[in-house]
C-alpha cells in the first residue's frame, strides 16, 4: 500500500491477547499514534488475526476468523497498526498464502498490504523523536521470533528505545532465541517450554536490568508468567507501555 503523508488516520489492531490480558498496552499503543497527530480508530468489530488456530493446525477455522477481519478494517487507504509482530506477520505473510486459491484473495492481499507492526510504523512511517522524561534506568530487550525473523522489525523497536536518553539498554544473552511460548507448543510440551523459559529468565537476571522490554504480548505472557511464579522482581513490559511512561504520558 502507498501511504500518503502526513498520515491522518490509522486503524489499531487490538490483538486478542492485548484485548483480554493487556488492555493498557493496547491503549498505550493508540496514544503513541495519537500523539503524532494520527486519528486512531479501534474498530469494535475486530476480534483476532487467527494465529492461535493457525498455529494449532486448524487452518479452516483460522481462515474464517481472518475473513471476519475484512469487515472490521474496510477503508483501503487506512493503514492497520498492530502492537505485536506475530499478528502483523500472520496478516502480512500468512493471509496471502492461505487465501492464494480463494475467491476473495484480492481483498485479503489488500488487507495484508496495509498491516504494520507498531515499532516499524512509529519509527519509519511517522518518524517519531522521543524526549526521555524519566529517571535513569537499565533495561534489557528480548526479540520475539516473529519480529526478528518473519518481519525483521525487532531492530526498529530497539531503535525507539535508544532514542530515550536516560535508558541504558543492556545486552541480553541469547536475545534472539525463542522464549519457549510458541502457542500450542506451551500446552503440548509444558516441560520443554518451561526449560526454554527458564533459560530466558536466567539470561534476563544476568543482564542486571530493572525491566525486560518486549514487543509481543505472547512473549510477555510467558516471560512475565514465569517470573511471577518464581517471584523474580523484574518487570516485563511492552515497549509501547514503556515508551509512553518515559515520555511523560499520563496514566493510560
Amino acid at each position: 500500500m502507498q501511504i500518503s503523508f502526513p498520515v491522518k488516520k490509522a486503524y489499531f489492531l487490538g490483538t486478542c491477547l492485548a484485548d483480554m490480558i493487556y488492555p493498557e498496552t493496547g491503549l498505550a499503543g493508540m496514544r503513541l499514534l495519537e500523539r503524532e497527530g494520527v486519528e486512531t480508530i479501534f474498530p469494535l468489530e475486530q476480534s483476532c488475526c487467527g494465529w492461535p488456530a493457525y498455529n494449532a493446525g486448524y487452518r479452516r477455522e483460522a481462515m474464517a476468523v481472518a475473513r471476519a477481519q475484512l469487515k472490521a478494517f474496510p477503508d483501503p487507504d487506512c493503514p492497520i497498526v498492530a502492537p505485536s509482530a506475530s499478528c502483523a506477520a500472520m496478516m502480512r505473510i500468512q493471509y496471502p498464502k492461505l487465501f492464494e486459491h480463494e475467491p476473495d484473495v484480492h481483498e485479503m492481499l489488500q488487507l495484508a498490504s496495509r498491516v504494520y507492526e507498531l515499532g516499524d510504523f512509529l519509527l519509519n512511517v511517522l518518524q517519531v523523536r522521543y524526549q526521555d522524561q524519566g529517571e535513569p534506568i537499565r533495561v534489557t530487550w528480548h526479540s520475539s521470533c516473529h519480529a526478528l525473523r518473519d518481519l525483521d522489525v525487532a531492530r526498529h523497536a530497539k531503535a525507539l528505545l535508544r532514542q530515550l536518553e536516560n535508558v541504558e539498554l543492556a545486552d541480553l544473552e541469547g536475545e534472539e532465541e525463542c522464549c519457549g511460548f510458541g502457542g500450542i507448543f506451551s500446552i503440548r510440551q509444558p516441560e520443554l517450554s518451561a526449560a526454554m523459559a527458564y533459560d530466558k529468565i536466567e539470561a534476563i537476571q544476568n543482564a542486571q536490568a530493572a525491566r525486560v522490554i518486549v514487543g509481543e504480548c505472547g512473549c510477555m505472557l510467558n516471560i512475565a508468567g514465569v517470573m511471577d511464579k518464581l517471584r523474580i522482581p523484574i518487570a516485563c513490559q511492552h515497549f509501547a507501555d514503556f515508551i509512553w511512561e518515559r515520555i511523560g504520558g499520563e496514566n493510560v
Partner: protein, 472 residues
C-alpha cells in the same frame, strides 16, 4: 476420570531434560558448530548467493527427478555400477542382505549413513547374524553404547570425552584417558583390524551425478573412502532425491554442506565413485552396487510445497540452531532424522497417524529455516503438516488422524466467537471473569507448571474503547 493416554514422546523429552550432563555437553558442541558456521559465512551476501544457487539446483533436480534418475541409472550402468530399486525400507534391507549372502560376505564395515538408519539396516543385519561395524569415530562410539545417532553430523554430540574414556575402558579394555587424541587412537586401532578383514563396505551417498553416473561421498575422516575402496564389494544406499543433474552443480552444494555442518571451507575427503575397479586397476572394489530407496518420497514429490523437504543436504544446521533440539537432543525425537528436518520428513514417511506428534514439537521460531543452506522453509512446512494432521482432505499419509473431538469443538467455538463481534465481546467478558476462578485443569494446568495463571483484565480493550467512543 478419563484415562490419560501414554505419550512416549513427552516421556522421552522429560528424561532428556533431566539429564543435565548431556544437556551441558550438547550445548557446548552445538554452540561450537554455530560459531564455526558463522565464522565461515561471515559474509552474509556470499551465503545468500550460494543458498540461492543451491535452492535452484535442488528445485530443478526435484522438478525433473524421474528423468534424472533414468539418466543416472543408464550412465551408472555404463560405468558398471549395478542399480537396485527399493520401494520400501524393508525391500532395501532385503536387497542388501541378498547381495551380502550371495557374495559370501563375512565382515561388513559401514560409513555413516542416515538413510541406513531410516531403513533400520544395522538392526536388520544383526538379526540375521551379521555384525556390521560403524567406522566413523562418532558412529563407532554410539554403536558401542548401542544407541541411535543423536545428530546427522555428530552422532555423539551429547557425550563428553570422559564418557568416551569410561566407555573405551569398559568395552575396549584400553586404560582410561580423556585425551581426545589418545581416544581416537584407541578407536583407530580397533577399526584398522576391521578395515583389513572387511569384504563388504556399506556407505550412504551425498550426491549422485546424473550426467556421468557417478556417486559423490563427503566426509572428514577417510573412513568412508576406506569402506568404499578396500572391501571387495561396495554397497551404496541412497534415497532417490540425492541425484543432481551435473558435476557443475556440485561446487555450491559442497561449499554449503561443509560450511553449514562444521564451518569448513571444504570437506576433508570428497570421493567420486564411477564404478568398480577397471581391468587395469590394482585396487578398488570388484563390485559396486547402488540401492535407491523411495520409501514414500514419490508421494512427497507430488506436492509442490511439501516437496521442498527433499532439498535437504543433511548438514545438520537446522538442528544446531533449533532451541528444542538443543535442549532434548536427537534421540528424544524417536526418528532417524531428528530436529526440524526430521519433524518435517519423518511424519511424511511414516504417516501422520504414527508420527503426527513431531510437527508440534516446535515453537515455530523459524531459526531452522533461517539457517538452512538449502533454503527449505522448515517453519512453513511444520505449519502445513500441523494442518494436515487435522484435515481429512490432506495429501500426507494419515492426514486427519490427529483430529480429536474435544479439540475440534474448542476451535469451532473459538471460530464462532471470533467471527461474530457480539459473541466476541460477550465471551471476552465472560472469559475474563471466569478464568480468574477456573480450576487448574487441562491446558491451564500445563500452562501453570512454570507460570502463574494469566490475569485477565477486568475490562477488556473492547469494553474500554466502547465507553470511550460513547463518551465522544
Amino acid at each position: 476420570m478419563s484415562k490419560r493416554l501414554p505419550d512416549p514422546l513427552r516421556e522421552r523429552i522429560q528424561a532428556a531434560l533431566l539429564n543435565e550432563e548431556q544437556r551441558a555437553c550438547r550445548k557446548r558442541v552445538l554452540a561450537d558448530f554455530r560459531s564455526r558456521r558463522e565464522e565461515r559465512f561471515a559474509d552474509a551476501a556470499e551465503f545468500a548467493r550460494l543458498r540461492a544457487m543451491a535452492r535452484e539446483i535442488k528445485r530443478r533436480a526435484l522438478h525433473m527427478l524421474p528423468d534424472l534418475l533414468q539418466q543416472f541409472e543408464e550412465n551408472a550402468a555404463k560405468n558398471g555400477i549395478m542399480v537396485h530399486w527399493a520401494e520400501t525400507a524393508g525391500e532395501a534391507n532385503e536387497i542388501i542382505w541378498t547381495l551380502i549372502r550371495k557374495h559370501g560376505g563375512k565382515k561388513i564395515i559401514k560409513g555413516k549413513s542416515m538413510v541406513s538408519e531410516e531403513t533400520g539396516l544395522n538392526i536388520n543385519l544383526t538379526a540375521k547374524g551379521a555384525r556390521p561395524v560403524e567406522t566413523e569415530t562418532g558412529e563407532f562410539i554410539r554403536q558401542l553404547c548401542n544407541e541411535p545417532p543423536a545428530h546427522v553430523v555428530s552422532s555423539i554430540c551429547h557425550k563428553s570425552r570422559q564418557d568416551v574414556g569410561r566407555l573405551f575402558e569398559k568395552k575396549l579394555n584400553s586404560p582410561y584417558t580423556d585425551d581426545i587424541d589418545r581416544l581416537c587412537q584407541s578407536a583407530q586401532k580397533v577399526l584398522r583390524g576391521h578395515f583389513r578383514e572387511a569384504d563388504i563396505g556399506i556407505s550412504g551417498v551425498n550426491f549422485a551425478v546424473a550426467s556421468s553416473g557417478a556417486l559423490v561421498l563427503v566426509e572428514n575422516e577417510g573412513n568412508v573412502r576406506m569402506s568404499s575402496t578396500l572391501p571387495d564389494m561396495h554397497i551404496a544406499l541412497m534415497s532417490l532425491e540425492k541425484v543432481i543433474p551435473d558435476f557443475s552443480d556440485l561446487p555450491p552444494l559442497l561449499l554449503l554442506l561443509s560450511g553449514s555442518a562444521t564451518g569448513q571451507r571444504a570437506p576433508a575427503y570428497v570421493s567420486v565413485i564411477r564404478g568398480p575397479r577397471g581391468a587395469q586397476e590394482k585396487d578398488g572394489p570388484r563390485q559396486v552396487h547402488l540401492v535407491i530407496l523411495d520409501n514414500g518420497r514419490s508421494r512427497i514429490l507430488a506436492d509442490r510445497e511439501l516437496r521442498q523437504a527433499l532439498q535437504c543436504i543433511r548438514c545438520g544446521a537446522c538442528m544446531n540452531y533449533c532451541p528444542v533440539f538443543g535442549r532434548i537432543g536427537g534421540q528424544a525425537y524417536g526418528s532417524p532424522y531428528p530436529g526440524p528436518i526430521g519433524s518435517v520428513l519423518w511424519p511424511q514417511i511414516q504417516g501422520l497417524h504414527r508420527r503426527g506428534d513431531l510437527p508440534f514439537l516446535s515453537t515455530l521460531c523459524g531459526a531452522c529455516a533461517e539457517a538452512c543452506p538449502a533454503g527449505i522453509p522448515l517453519q512453513s512446512l511444520l505449519e502445513r503438516l500441523r494442518d494436515e494432521a487435522h484435515t481429512s482432505q490432506g495429501v500426507v499419509r494419515g492426514s486427519g488422524s490427529a483430529r480429536r473431538p474435544g479439540e475440534s469443538v474448542f476451535w469451532r467455538i473459538w471460530e464462532l466467537s471470533h467471527t461474530r463481534p457480539v459473541l466476541n465481546t460477550l465471551t471476552g467478558g465472560i472469559l475474563g471473569k471466569f478464568l480468574r476462578f477456573a480450576p487448574r485443569l487441562g491446558s491451564l494446568r500445563a500452562w501453570t507448571i512454570c507460570r502463574s495463571k494469566p490475569r485477565f483484565a477486568r475490562k477488556n480493550l473492547h469494553q474500554m474503547l466502547r465507553k470511550r467512543r460513547n463518551q465522544k
